[in-house]
Symmetry: C2
Subunit: 200 residues, 2 copies
């Protein structure tokens, strides 16, 4: 019977990089919200991920200082609009300036769509959006994590492939790299899940 191979840390040649959030790949998501006056705001977030299958939930982490933070607290709702590579400029801009001082939607000339499901706007021009109801709020150090239950996902027909499923090669979402602070695209198909490992 095969046994586990193991070794002590000094036998591994990896280099310590310190206590850093070096998780790859990180997403590039645009969080949409309304302020008290009903003005739409957008903010780019990469500290985010899926956190539950049933009910379908995603988590986004924001700093208290952001304009969006108060909006999410007030409305208990947000959207996520996923930019394609074509909108890298706009996505970067949404992370560069604050909604407190700049009307980011007016500046980018993108269109805020009023959702029927939640009190939060999403971006018409972006190919995929998620409409979320805040179901949990947790303080984690300098960030606040909002867990949003996905009430609906909506996509442009142009990013759908076989069987009506999202084709990532058509969606062309952005990848954020935490260490070098860059945007990358998605590469080629590698394997099917729960198939590649069957040979082991």
């Amino acid at each position: 019977m095969a046994t586990q191979r193991f070794c002590i840390e000094s036998a591994d040649m990896k280099k310590s990089l310190g206590a850093k959030t070096l998780l790859y790949p990180a997403p590039v998501l645009v969080v949409g919200s309304y302020d008290k006056a009903g003005k739409a705001n957008m903010m780019t977030v990469s500290w985010a991920g899926i956190c539950c299958s049933q009910p379908p939930c995603i988590a986004v982490a924001l700093r208290k200082e952001t304009y969006s933070y108060a909006n999410l607290m007030e409305r208990k709702a947000f959207t996520v609009s996923i930019p394609s590579e074509d909108y890298v400029k706009e996505a970067d801009f949404f992370g560069l300036v604050s909604g407190r001082s700049t009307d980011k939607l007016a500046a980018t000339k993108l269109t805020a769509v009023r959702s029927k499901l939640v009190e939060a706007p999403y971006i018409k021009e972006f190919p995929l959006v998620l409409e979320c109801k805040v179901v949990d709020i947790a303080e984690i150090g300098m960030h606040t994590q909002f867990v949003g239950e996905v009430l609906d996902a909506k996509a442009e027909e142009s990013v759908l492939g076989q069987g009506g499923a999202i084709d990532i090669r058509k969606l062309r979402p952005l990848v954020f790299t935490p260490d070098t602070q860059e945007y990358y695209g998605i590469g080629g198909f590698i394997a099917k899940v729960f198939s590649a490992g069957k040979g082991i």
Copy 2:
């Protein structure tokens, strides 16, 4: 002065896909833990993301039924080992079978490294690892979210680029696609963060 463009939902042509966790890109991470007997186990997780900059924290969501769940609960520690494209078979295998019935490390012939910082093993052959102490546990529907403070990140010299930073083109992490259940690679460089949007 420019004003916001907005429209109602019926003026947007997106197609409803239902309440689904369609967040792109999702990562492919291998969570390492020890069971009560000290046996190392590895499990592939894509419901995960960065959730705080300071202290540096990441979140991973596991179902209670997994073998790893009890390990994380018991040891209050885990690692994340990020596979390169070269290890897609092993990463897939770690998500395909349970540590309850299979010694996944023995089967894949990968090496479990004993961490000096946390009571959890990481994979020697994978190019980037994070050693995490559990600082928060939250029940979110059918998943439990473990927030881990990253005590150290360690990388192979071969994935470091300019200034000793991680070069994602050398790291070659996997991307998971929630809708089609496939693995993809990372594509080309698109832009620098906080630079692309300056023209707006």
